[in-house]
């Protein structure tokens, strides 16, 4: 048969694709990459960042861009998979971006960072919360506009044991890198504090048909509260099933759950659930403007990490302007020394890359909305 014809065709198509996408070099603009999950099941965490970056850049471009040049966004999808993220990163490097807003998931970020580091590209993530990203010192080019997991776990544990005064806690997680990481910090902190006791520490199976067995176990363990590390779909199933069983165990979770979708899906069962999340800055004028711009353009409220991404984009553009160049060292200095007014308040970065001025608070669902309580 035509095996070689087919191979030839495949090869020819490949090569032509390669050439087509290989020769698009243009230095008239300053390019910023936006990487993250823009398709697949985690797309709802990645798309708001793209919208945020677009809104900021439109705003700046309308005011003359930065360093006299227009800003151009290069948006690339990594589906939150490490193996795809390396290709995405390579593509962005090839496009000669000066900085990247992203990635969204910690695993993908780790895989991509090495490539950015080698090419002296700054990377600011709106959502990668894994502590070693900043604390290990392996990634000097990494910054984030969100607090790391350990800070969040600390807050949850303190809230559960001190504010609410619980003695028996169940720690659950979704076995994912984000959820399990958080749960492990929480577990270690509860153990070292010695105030409360962990009566149950379990990973649940994402996508399981139901969670009645693990909830029975929680009930049987006598836990007063559950600290859950993971995202909102599983959380709303857990809470819903728990309340239907007549269990009134308190549910404390993280910023993966502090999402309006959670309330929408869990409905009445969401009432009373606690979640930690970035401090409420919605009364901040910049934040109101950003939210309004999103409303005007898309006709709906912004999604997860929108404000973080908005702040990240503002921060990098500000740094480019302050540094007066797109040079890596100058940018690093500007990021770490200059305070900038963003949608998250006035922030700067410490020398590890964590944002100064971005804090977490505890929220509770009251009458169908998240209310900041601490």
């Amino acid at each position: 048969m035509k095996k070689f014809t087919v191979i030839f065709l495949v090869a020819a198509v490949l090569v032509s694709f390669a050439f087509l996408s290989g020769c698009s070099k243009d230095s008239g603009t300053i390019k910023i990459g936006v990487a993250g999950a823009h398709s697949g099941d985690l797309a709802s965490y990645g798309i708001p960042s793209v919208k945020a970056a677009e809104l900021v850049v439109e705003d700046w471009n309308a005011n003359g861009g930065v360093l006299g040049k227009q800003i151009e966004l290069v948006v690339e999808d990594d589906v939150c998979k490490p193996e795809v993220a390396t290709n995405t990163a390579a593509k962005l490097v090839g496009e000669e971006v000066v900085a990247v807003i992203g990635h969204i998931c910690s695993g993908a970020t780790k895989a991509a960072l090495g490539i950015y580091k080698d090419s002296d590209i700054i990377c600011i993530s709106p959502s990668a919360t894994n502590p070693p990203l900043t604390q290990s010192g392996d990634y000097p080019n990494f910054y984030r506009t969100i607090a790391p997991d350990d800070a969040q776990a600390r807050l949850e544990v303190d809230f559960a044991t001190q504010t609410l005064g619980f003695k028996k806690l169940a720690v659950l997680h979704d076995k994912g890198d984000y959820g399990k990481g958080l749960a492990e910090f929480a577990k270690a902190m509860i153990e070292s504090d010695g105030v409360a006791e962990i009566v149950l520490y379990e990973g649940i199976t994402v996508g399981a048909v139901d969670y009645s067995a693990v909830l029975n176990k929680v009930k049987n363990s006598g836990a007063e509260a559950i600290i859950y590390g993971g995202y909102h779909p599983e959380a709303s199933k857990l809470v819903g099933q728990m309340r239907k069983k007549g269990m009134d165990t308190v549910f404390i979770s993280d910023d993966g759950v502090k999402d309006d979708t959670f309330i929408k899906v869990a409905g009445e069962y969401a009432e009373g659930v606690y979640a930690t999340g970035p401090m409420d800055t919605s009364s901040n004028t910049l934040t109101m403007a950003a939210n309004k711009a999103h409303q005007d353009k898309y006709g709906e409220d912004p999604g997860a990490f929108f404000l973080n991404a908005y702040a990240a984009t503002t921060a990098i553009l500000n740094a480019i302007e302050k540094a007066g160049s797109t040079d890596y060292d100058a940018l690093t200095k500007a990021l770490q020394s200059e305070y900038v007014d963003t949608t998250l308040g006035s922030i700067s970065f410490d020398n590890k890359g964590d944002a100064i001025g971005v804090g977490f608070s505890v929220f509770q669902v009251q009458n169908g909305v998240y209310v900041e309580i601490q």
Partner: protein
């Protein structure tokens, strides 16, 4: 071309066809009505009626049903052709011509080789990086082809061995600082050991039972890796795995990506070479016998147990090696990269391309990995298109895009040697 096929092509559309297509259109409009037309929001209790979608579906299925009918007719025609013509006329295909003139094949292979060698130089790092991913899947697909295509054993957990290879490198490097080049064979050997250990208890299972058991092993591997933090660092994975370098030199990412590319190209060539050799070997023929009829094979004195084990061992070795290269390429691994979905994908490559056929499997792997990458423009629709392509290729080319040709061994008289006829 036969009469039936001609009729299928040039036939004008009759009233009957229109009626049939109209019925199809109505049927699909009915079928997709709830999901395409109605969108409810149970929170705000609002319902959106998207009648326009229904119109699109109606028109699209009206047209597509014509195309479908035409294609099915052609397919039937071709099948009828094949039956009638196989005895009388042998059509000269490119493959036959290649047999007659080995030059075509040689020149073709040379051109492909030159393209492969020049690829990273001509294109950028992004293209090279994508190509590495694609070639990794080529190695995986060729490896799985040994079990599935040649041996006829359905395995749905192949990605385990890829994972074993990747973790071998990551962990040995983390604990003992082992470098890439040493890990390369070790990853393969380790995957092979695991492969044999898994194979021993399950080899007596047949067909779909084997498939599900290997699927189960695949899931167990992933879940254990997620939970056993002490061994695998759980879902947060292992970062900072060094990229391959040469002679202890400091390589830039660009350079080591290029190096990885050449490593994988060499591995693809070695794999092709070995699989080609194996096909004609005693073992290869034993595999084919096993695929066609196990009992008859056993009756001919083939030790089925050993044959199966050999298929597993060899096949898993390649997966392990590919895993090491994968870890070296991404520098970060976690269990999420080794899901059942990946196993299914590799199986799709083998079957889509043509089981047992090396050029087929390679094309299958390249198309499946590169299609979604280049379909990014249609990001939302790409998986939909991909699913449809799988169905369509299978319906219209059930043997795969480039089916394997059966070896024919002919006995040409007493004086002549036993010649290999058509290949």
């Amino acid at each position: 071309m036969s009469d039936t096929a001609k009729n299928g092509l040039s036939r004008y559309i009759t009233a009957k066809d229109v009626k049939r297509s109209a019925i199809m259109a109505v049927w699909f409009m009915f079928l997709t009505f709830p999901i395409m037309v109605i969108k409810v929001n149970t929170v705000t209790d609002t319902v959106e009626w998207r009648w326009f979608n229904m119109l699109i579906i109606g028109v699209a299925s009206f047209i597509l049903s014509h195309v479908w009918k035409l294609m099915i007719d052609r397919r039937e025609g071709r099948m009828a052709d094949a039956v009638s013509s196989s005895v009388i006329v042998e059509k000269k295909t490119l493959r036959d011509r290649m047999e007659e003139k080995p030059m075509i094949k040689k020149v073709g292979s040379l051109v492909i080789l030159v393209i492969a060698v020049l690829f990273p130089i001509v294109t950028g790092m992004y293209q090279t990086s994508i190509m590495i991913t694609a070639l990794l899947y080529v190695v995986l697909a060729l490896g799985l082809n040994i079990i599935v295509g040649l041996g006829g054993l359905l395995v749905l957990g192949y990605i385990v061995f890829y994972g074993v290879g990747a973790y071998t490198y990551a962990l040995l490097n983390y604990h003992f600082g082992l470098n890439f080049w040493l890990a390369l064979p070790l990853g393969g050997i380790f995957a092979m050991i695991i492969g044999i250990l898994i194979a021993i208890p399950v080899l007596r299972l047949r067909g779909d039972y084997l498939a599900i058991v290997t699927l189960a092993f695949g899931e167990i591997f992933r879940i254990v890796m997620e939970n056993w933090n002490g061994l695998s660092f759980g879902p947060s994975g292992i970062a900072n795995i060094p990229r391959p370098t040469l002679f202890g030199l400091d390589f830039s990412i660009q350079q080591s990506t290029t190096l990885t590319y050449y490593v994988i190209v060499i591995f693809v060539i070695i794999t092709i070479f070995i699989v080609r050799r194996l096909e004609d070997s005693r073992l290869g023929r034993a595999w084919v016998a096993m695929r066609e009829d196990e009992i008859a094979g056993e009756a001919m004195g083939i030790d089925m147990w050993k044959t199966k084990l050999a298929a597993f061992a060899l096949s898993t070795f390649w997966a392990g090696v590919a895993g090491v290269i994968f870890a070296g390429k991404t520098t970060f691994i976690n269990p999420a990269s080794f899901t059942m979905w990946e196993s299914i994908l590799v199986l799709c490559m083998v079957v889509l391309g043509g089981m047992g056929s090396i050029p087929g499997v390679i094309s299958g792997a390249l198309i499946i990995t590169l299609l979604p990458e280049y379909l990014r423009a249609f990001s939302e629709l790409r998986m939909l298109i991909f699913g449809a392509v799988l169905v369509l290729v299978m319906v219209f080319k059930p043997e795969g895009m480039i089916p394997a040709i059966r070896q024919k061994y002919e006995f040409k008289g007493i004086t002549g040697n036993k010649n290999k006829g058509d290949k």
